[in-house]
């Protein structure tokens, strides 16, 4: 390839908001209900039903808009986007085209220490569609309207990204902002955050954009990275072949690692948008925006800065801890109870992350009482349990949320700190291991480690290793 190409990427990110009810009716948004049980005349598009806007949706959207440096539209309204598809019972989706709630914002991303702004073109509120399941037996599609009318915001970026790394950084940034705001759990693999990738290529140095395609069905960071790579390659090959890139929507198949053009509903470019007559405009005053700003919780960057200042923990640790709002909450709660931020951080970073990884979990799946970890740290510090026991107990706290004190008591895991009792055992070990004793006297310092190990074994791990070490040295 002689010519140099550059990839130009813009993202459309859908985020499912964490409201209790749907955007236009009082149906629950809870996951896992039996099919069609969270439905009513409004969210199934029955004639004569009237939508009423959920105020919380507007406030979440405002909060995200403010946190992504957008201008909030003083008077915004809804529009109807018309299309026929069985997942959409009204035959139109209520969305915002002409006056979206927020526009002209940006987020800052950092790649290898270099900062870059990714601009946000606009963000609008809309309703989600129902779910279609293919039924092999009857060769038909089955429809569940439980998700129909679940509130979404769609965040549309400018074509400011140039590679997969920037896209990942941008998505991660959005995820953290939205999670910290509590506006959504924003999980890609569970579909509460979805990204469509608009991508074109152009020769390096050209001002004009190439023809872009839109890729859908990307539900993991890895799939997005692979899709970007695959689509870039496909478009460059077309151009090199003297053929044209066709503006179209393509569906990414992550198993085949290739995409194919989608048909049917996406062919209908003409959505015939018009103002939604059933919903009155939304007027957003400066006072309302100030109220939202005041309620804004501490966001990730602020938390990171505060951790550095307050807790003196390594930057890397602070980044991991604040990389999940949930983990940061556990850290802060435990630190508040124990007053030992460094130790809490160590436990979470070493044992906590190990267990998360081993059990294929997300940080959000961690559920133990912060008080339990505070107790374990305290018991270790007082010398009442040794590190080995502490790790064992923490694992059970982590997995089963057991009561650590009760468990230690019941299993008799308290360290034996009684020197007289330990002395007897140590004397026995010395008597039974003349070879190691000899090695030690001949200058092999390491031999003492073996003797400590033997003593711990004899004590079923409950001895205080410090005292054992000291005793051995004295007695030898």
């Amino acid at each position: 390839m002689s010519k140099q190409y550059e990839t130009v990427i813009g993202l459309e990110v859908h985020v499912e908001l964490a409201t209790k009810t749907k955007i236009f009716c009082g149906c629950s948004t809870e996951f896992g209900g039996a099919p069609n049980t969270h439905t009513c005349p409004v969210c199934t598009g029955q004639p004569g039903s009237l939508p009423v806007l959920n105020k919380q949706v507007v406030e979440y959207a405002m909060a995200i808009g403010v946190a992504t440096n957008c201008d909030i539209t003083p008077i915004c309204k809804f529009d109807r986007k018309n299309y026929f598809y069985p997942d959409n019972p009204q035959n139109y989706q209520i969305s915002q085209l002409y006056l979206p709630i927020a526009h002209d914002g940006y987020v800052e991303i950092e790649i290898n220490g270099k900062k870059k702004k990714v601009r946000i073109h606009e963000m609008h509120m809309e309703e989600d569609a129902g779910k279609l399941i293919h039924d092999e037996w009857t060769n038909s599609s089955l429809v569940d309207y439980n998700r129909s009318g679940v509130p979404l915001v769609e965040i549309v970026s400018e074509p400011d990204m140039r590679n997969a790394d920037e896209v990942m950084a941008y998505l991660e940034k959005l995820r953290l902002i939205i999670q910290y705001l509590g506006a959504s759990d924003a999980k890609l693999h569970e579909g509460s955050m979805r990204a469509d990738v608009n991508l074109s290529v152009r020769e390096v140095g050209t001002e004009e954009f190439g023809t872009r395609t839109e890729m859908k069905n990307l539900n993991s960071f890895k799939a997005i990275a692979r899709a970007i790579e695959g689509e870039t390659k496909r478009q460059i090959e077309l151009i090199e072949d003297g053929r044209k890139v066709v503006q179209e929507t393509r569906r990414w198949d992550d198993n085949k690692e290739s995409s194919h053009a989608m048909r049917s509903k996406e062919d209908a470019k003409d959505y015939r948008y018009f103002p939604e007559p059933d919903l009155v405009p939304i007027s957003i005053s400066k006072e309302w925006i100030s109220e939202i700003k005041e309620k804004q919780p501490e966001l990730r960057e602020e938390k990171l800065a505060r951790y550095k200042e307050e807790f003196e923990i390594p930057k890397y640790d602070a980044e991991i801890l604040t990389g999940s709002k949930h983990l940061a909450d556990i850290f802060e709660e435990t630190t508040k109870l124990s007053g030992k931020p460094k130790k809490v951080s160590n436990w979470l970073m070493v044992e906590g992350l190990r267990l998360v990884k081993e059990n294929n979990m997300e940080m959000e799946d961690i559920h133990f009482k912060p008080a339990s970890l505070a107790i374990i740290i305290d018991l270790v510090d007082k010398g009442e349990i040794n590190n080995q026991v502490a790790k064992e107990v923490f694992e059970l706290v982590f997995k089963e949320d057991i009561d650590p004190e009760k468990y230690i008591e019941e299993k008799g895991l308290k360290s034996v700190n009684d020197t007289d009792e330990l002395k007897k055992v140590v004397e026995e070990i010395i008597a039974n291991n003349p070879k190691s004793v000899e090695d030690y006297h001949n200058g092999k310092e390491k031999a003492i480690g073996f003797l400590v190990g033997q003593t711990m074994k004899a004590m079923k791990g409950k001895a205080n290793p410090g005292i054992v070490n000291k005793l051995l040295k004295e007695l030898l």
């Binding site: 409201t19 209790k20 009810t21 009716c25 009082g26 149906c27 629950s28 039996a34 099919p35 069609n36 049980t37 969270h38 439905t39 009513c40 005349p41 199934t44 029955q46 009423v52 806007l53 959920n54 105020k55 919380q56 949706v57 507007v58 008077i75 309204k77 018309n82 026929f84 598809y85 069985p86 997942d87 279609l132 399941i133 293919h134 039924d135 009857t138 060769n139 038909s140 599609s141 089955l142 429809v143 569940d144 309207y145 048909r263 049917s264 209908a268 003409d270 015939r272 103002p275 007559p277 919903l279 009155v280 405009p281 939304i282 007027s283």
Partner: protein
């Protein structure tokens, strides 16, 4: 007539609206659409200089509901209206997601 609707346009609108029109119906639909556009032309004669666009008749804004679950299980009613169903689902001709 100034608002001539071409055969292609009526074909395209038919596809968007998912209407399967026969030749006779297409002729009638063309006439109807042309008449509608003529009406718009009449409206366009009005001088609207300096008048803010309006999307709603009333000046009401900010009609909200609180985020509280008020609806229960509506599945019986929803499924009662379904022409075809299977188990707890509505059933429709095979559609590729």
């Amino acid at each position: 007539m100034s608002n001539h609707i071409s055969d292609e346009t009526i074909e395209y609108v038919g596809i968007l609206a998912q209407l399967d029109l026969n030749e006779e119906e297409k002729v009638k639909a063309k006439e109807d659409m042309e008449q509608m556009l003529e009406y718009i032309d009449t409206l366009n004669e009005l001088d609207t200089e300096g008048i803010e666009p309006k999307t709603h008749i009333s000046d009401t804004t900010n009609v909200f509901r609180e985020d509280v679950v008020t609806n229960g299980d509506g599945s019986d009613d929803v499924l009662a209206n379904a022409p075809l169903k299977k188990d707890e689902y509505l059933s429709v001709p095979k559609t590729i997601g």
